[in-house]
C-alpha cells in the first residue's frame, strides 16, 4: 500500500515541489539539445540504450517427478522438464527422454511453473528505501510526459528486485511510470536479474510500453495545481488533443519532414503499433470511453491496469481483446476502487477475456501466486470452475502476451527462455515458497544455498545482510 500511495494518492504532495519547473511542454525538453533538433526523425536510433543483458552461465538441468503447470493452461503430473542452453528443451511425462550428464533434481512433492511475470511494478523507480531522493516514478510537472522513459529512473540496486525473485519467483517485470499524468511516459520490461546498470536488466527485444492513466489521479494532481485537467472531461480533452498532435506528427515523420520530438516519437510509436499502451483505469465506464478514444485515433490498448471494475464489462473487454491487470481483493482506498469484488479476476476469465494478476506493490509482487490463489478460490465459490493450471496463466502467459514477449517467455514450450520456478509445494498454498528460480536457465535463486541469494549494494554491510528476508 505504501508504494501505491506514493505512486498515486500522494503524487501531488510528494512531488509538488517539482511543479515550479513545469514551465515547458513536452516538446520543449526535446529541443533543449540543439544538435538533435536538426536531426530528422526518420533517421533516429529507436534503441539508444540497448540491452546489455546476456544470460548467465547455465548447465543442462532435468527436474523429474514434478507437477508442472505449463503456463498456457496445461498440467502434467509426475512431469519432467529438460533445460539446456538457457532454453526449455523439452517438457513431458515420466517417459520423456533426458540427456545424459544433466544435473538431476528430484521434484517429487513439488511444483514447477514458468516464472512469474509482474506487468505492473515500480521497483527501481520507487525503490527501497523510499526516501525523497529516490522518488523517481512520476514526472508530475505536466499532464502529458510521453517523452520520459522509466528506464532512466530505475535504480538497479533496489532490494525489492531480490525479494520478488526469492519469495515471489518473479523472472520478468514491467516497470511503469506512476499515474500522476495522463501520459506518464515509456515503461520498460526487465529480466529480474541483478545488474550494475539498467541496461543489464533490460529484456532483449521487448517492446516499449506507454503508461497512461484515467480518472482520479491526473485530475487531482493537475486540478490541484490550478491547471487542466481538473475533471474527467478535462482528462479526455487533453488526451485527445495530444493524440491529434501525434497523428499530425506521424504524417510528418512518414514524409521524412519531422524534427526530433521525444514526446511525439513515443506517441507515434503507439500509433504505429510498436509501443503498447498500458492504461491505469479503474472504472468500467471510463474503460469503455478509452476504448472509443483508441479507435478515434487508431491505436490499441494492450491492458487496463488496476481494472477493479472489469467484471462489469468483461464481455466488452473480451470482444475488444484487451487484457485486465487486477488485484485479487484490493478495494476502498479511493473512490474509483470502491466497487472492487473478490471475483473480478475469475469473472474476466469466464467471459473469455485476458485476465492478469498484478501487484503495483513491492510487497505484493512477492506473492502474486497467492493473490491468484485467492481469486481462483473466490471464483470457485461462485461456481466458476477454473483449473489451477489455467489460473497460472494469470501470472505468466497472459502478462507475457500483454507485454509482447509471449513468443520468448511466459510458458514452458520448447525453445522458450528457461525462466522457471521450482516450488516446494503447490504454489496456490500459503505454505509454499520458491525453492529454485532459473532465469534463462541460470540458477539465480536456491533456497538451499545462501550463496544463490542476491544482496544489493544498498544492503551490503548493513544489519541483516544476506539474511533469508
Amino acid at each position: 500500500m505504501r508504494t501505491r500511495l506514493k505512486a498515486s494518492l500522494l503524487a501531488a504532495v510528494s512531488l509538488g515541489f517539482a511543479g515550479c519547473a513545469a514551465t515547458g511542454g513536452e516538446a520543449k525538453s526535446a529541443g533543449d539539445k540543439p544538435a538533435a533538433s536538426a536531426e530528422k526523425s526518420a533517421k533516429f536510433d529507436k534503441n539508444p540504450y540497448p540491452s546489455t543483458y546476456r544470460p548467465y552461465p547455465s548447465q543442462t538441468t532435468v527436474v523429474r517427478g514434478v507437477t508442472i503447470f505449463d503456463g498456457e493452461g496445461g498440467r502434467i503430473d509426475d512431469g519432467v522438464i529438460v533445460m539446456a542452453d538457457g532454453k526449455v528443451e523439452a517438457v513431458g511425462g515420466a517417459d520423456l527422454a533426458v540427456p545424459a550428464g544433466a544435473a538431476a533434481i528430484d521434484g517429487r512433492g513439488k511444483y514447477l511453473t514458468p516464472g512469474v511475470i509482474d506487468i505492473h511494478s515500480h521497483l527501481g523507480d520507487y525503490p527501497s528505501p523510499s526516501v525523497d531522493a529516490h522518488s523517481d516514478g512520476n514526472e508530475a510537472t505536466s499532464p502529458t510526459t510521453p517523452e520520459v522513459w522509466s528506464e532512466h529512473s530505475v535504480w538497479p540496486q533496489d532490494p525489492g528486485f531480490s525479494r520478488a525473485l526469492a519469495n515471489g519467483g518473479v523472472t520478468s517485470l514491467q516497470i511503469l511510470p506512476g499515474s500522476a499524468n495522463l501520459m506518464g511516459g515509456r515503461s520498460i520490461t526487465l529480466k529480474n536479474v541483478p545488474a550494475r546498470t539498467v541496461q543489464g536488466m533490460k529484456f532483449p527485444g521487448a517492446p516499449y510500453g506507454l503508461k497512461m492513466a484515467c480518472g482520479e489521479n491526473p485530475k487531482r494532481v493537475y486540478g490541484g495545481k490550478g491547471r487542466m485537467p481538473s475533471t474527467r472531461m478535462g482528462n479526455f480533452a487533453v488526451n485527445r488533443q495530444t493524440w491529434a498532435k501525434a497523428a499530425a506528427h506521424k504524417k510528418k515523420m512518414d514524409e521524412g519532414k519531422a524534427d526530433r520530438d521525444l514526446a511525439m516519437e513515443t506517441l507515434v510509436g503507439v500509433l504505429s503499433g510498436e509501443i503498447l499502451v498500458h492504461n491505469h483505469c479503474y472504472r468500467a465506464d471510463e474503460m469503455a470511453l478509452v476504448i472509443d478514444m483508441a479507435k478515434e485515433f487508431g491505436y490499441k490498448v494492450s491492458t487496463f491496469h488496476h481494472a477493479v471494475e472489469s467484471y462489469k464489462i468483461a464481455d466488452l473487454l473480451a470482444k475488444e481483446g484487451i487484457c485486465s491487470a487486477m488485484w485479487a481483493d484490493w478495494w476502498g482506498f479511493k473512490m474509483e476502487s470502491y466497487d472492487g469484488v473478490n471475483e473480478n479476476v475469475p469473472l474476466v476469465e469466464r467471459a473469455g477475456a485476458c485476465a492478469i494478476v498484478h501487484s503495483d506493490d513491492a510487497n505484493q509482487i512477492q506473492r502474486l501466486n497467492q493473490e491468484a490463489a485467492k481469486a481462483l478460490k473466490a471464483g470457485r465459490r461462485m461456481g466458476i470452475d477454473i483449473s489451477d493450471a489455467q489460473a497460472w496463466t494469470w501470472v505468466s502467459y497472459n502478462p507475457a502476451k500483454a507485454l509482447g514477449i509471449a513468443d520468448r517467455t511466459g510458458s514452458l514450450k520448447p525453445g522458450k527462455m528457461a525462466d522457471v520456478v521450482l516450488w516446494n509445494g503447490n504454489p496456490f498454498s500459503a505454505y509454499t515458497r520458491p525453492e529454485k528460480v532459473w532465469i534463462d536457465g541460470a540458477l539465480m535463486y536456491d533456497a538451499n544455498d545462501p550463496k544463490r541469494r542476491p544482496v544489493s549494494d544498498f544492503e551490503l554491510g548493513q544489519p541483516g545482510e544476506g539474511d533469508v528476508k
Binding site: 500500500m1 505504501r2 494518492l9 527501497s128 528505501p129 523510499s130 532490494p159 525489492g160 519469495n167 482520479e216 467484471y311 462489469k312 464489462i313 468483461a314 464481455d315 466488452l316 481483493d329 484490493w330 478495494w331 476502498g332 482506498f333 479511493k334 473512490m335 470502491y338 466497487d339 472492487g340 469484488v341 471475483e343 469473472l347 513491492a362 510487497n363 512477492q366 506473492r367 497467492q370 490463489a373 485467492k374 481469486a375 481462483l376 478460490k377 470457485r380 465459490r381 461462485m382 461456481g383 516446494n424 496456490f428 498454498s429 500459503a430 505454505y431 509454499t432 515458497r433 538451499n448 545462501p450 544498498f458 544492503e459 548493513q462 544489519p463 541483516g464 539474511d467 533469508v468 528476508k469
Partner: protein, 468 residues
Amino acid sequence: MNALFTKSLVRSHRAKSRCLSFVRAFGVSRLRSTRAGLGVALVASMAAAAPAAAQDIAITNARLVIGDGSAPVEGGTVVVRGGKVVAAGTGVAVPAGVERVDAEGRWVTPGLVAAFSRVGLVEVDAVSGTNDRSATRSRFSAGLDIAPALNPMGSPVAVNRAGGVTRAIVAPGPSSSLFAGQGAVVDLGDDNDMVTRARALQFVAFGEAGSSKAGGSRAATFLLFREQLLAARSYARNPAALAEWGNDALLQRADAEALVRVIDGTTPLFVRVDRASDILNVLKLKGEFPAMKLVLVGATDGWLVARDIAAAKVPVILSPLSDLPDSFERLAATQSNAGRLKEAGVDVSVGVFDDDDAHKMGYATQYAGNLVGLARVPGASGLTWDEAFASISSAPARAVGMEASIGSLRPGRAGDVVIWDDDPLELGSRPVAVWIDGKAQSLTTRQDRLRDRYANPQEGALPKAYDR
C-alpha cells in the same frame, strides 16, 4: 425478536436481507461443493436466529481450534450460552435445550482479532469526509477518543467480518502532536453497538514519524514524551496547575487526563517503533514510568534486540511479511522477525497495518499462513500452525489486556465463533458461519451484491440498475 424488527425501518430491512443472505450463503454458493446436510441444518438454525438475538448454541463435530496456541482437536464441541463460551473441547456435553449445529468436521475457531487496525474509522481512504483515521489539525492529541468516530454500518466492517474478523483493536492515526490519541477494542457485529472497550489503548509513534511530530529529531521525541507525561502527572496531583500554565501548557486538559491513565497502566501504550536503537530506548522508558504497559507495534528490526524485548515482557504486534528496507529504520527487515522474536520468548501478534489498515483485516490469515510456510524455508524462522493462529486471536487480545474476555474459545470468553470452509490459514478460505457474542451474523457484503449483479455482465430486458 419483534423489538429488534421494529427498531426502525432500516433495521428491519437489514434483518430481512440477512435472512436472504443466509440462504444465499449456505444454501447456494458456499456449500455448492459440499454435502447438503450442513446446509440444511445451518439454514434452519440461522433462519430462526436471524434477528441477531444471542443464541444458546452448540457447534459439534468440529475440527476445533481453541486459539490459545493448543493444537486443533477432532470431534470438538463449542457451547455458547448467554453470549459467552461455556465449554469447548472434546467430550463436552451439549446441555438440554441448546440448539445444535453440526460442523461436519469443518474447522471451527474463535473469531479473528485484528491486532492493529483502522476498521470502522474509514469508508474510502481518499474521500476525506469518510476518513476519520487522523486528526492532524486538532488542538488535542492524547485526549482524542476514536469511539464516536466509529461507523459500525460502514461496508469495511461487513467485508472484514465476512473474512472471519470478529474483533479489532482500532488505533487512531497521527494527531497534530506526538500522542495520537485513544483507540478502542471493537466488535464487527451487524448492529449499531461497536465498542467493546473504549479508550483501550493510547497510541504514539517514535522513530522517524515521531521525530517529525516532535520537532525534527529523536531527541525532541523522547524529551516531549517525558515532559508531557510529567506534566500529566503534575496535573493529576494538582489539576489547578493546568490553569496556571496557561498558554505555556504542554497539554490540554483532556490530553493530560488521558496520559494519567497511561502512566498508571490503566491504558496500554501502543508504540510504533522499528529501529533497534529506538526499541531499546522505548523499553527504557519503563524505568521512569514503571506502571506503564507498553506494546510495541511494528518492531521491524526487533529481532536484533529480541532478548531485550523478551526480558522487558513487552508484547509485539508486527506486520510479519514486511521484509523491505523501505526506510533507514527498517534496514534489517525480514519475514523471519516473528519467528525469531517468538523463539526469544516474545509474545507476538500479527497485524495488517503496513498495508491497508481499514479494509483488508482478513489478510491476517494469509500472513499467519505465510509464517507457517516460512518455517519450511532453510535458515528462516516461522511459526507453527498453532502459534500462527494464536497470533491472530488470543495474542492480540492479550496485548490489549483483554485475554480474559475475547480471542479464544476458553470458557468465559465472548461467543465469537467461526465455521470455515477449509483450513483458515490457507489462501481463500472463508467463513461459512460467524457468531459474535453468540449472535449469528450476516456474511453478505455490498461486494457480493455487485458480484451477483454482474455475474453475467450483459444487460437483460432492463438495465442492470433493476437487477437486485
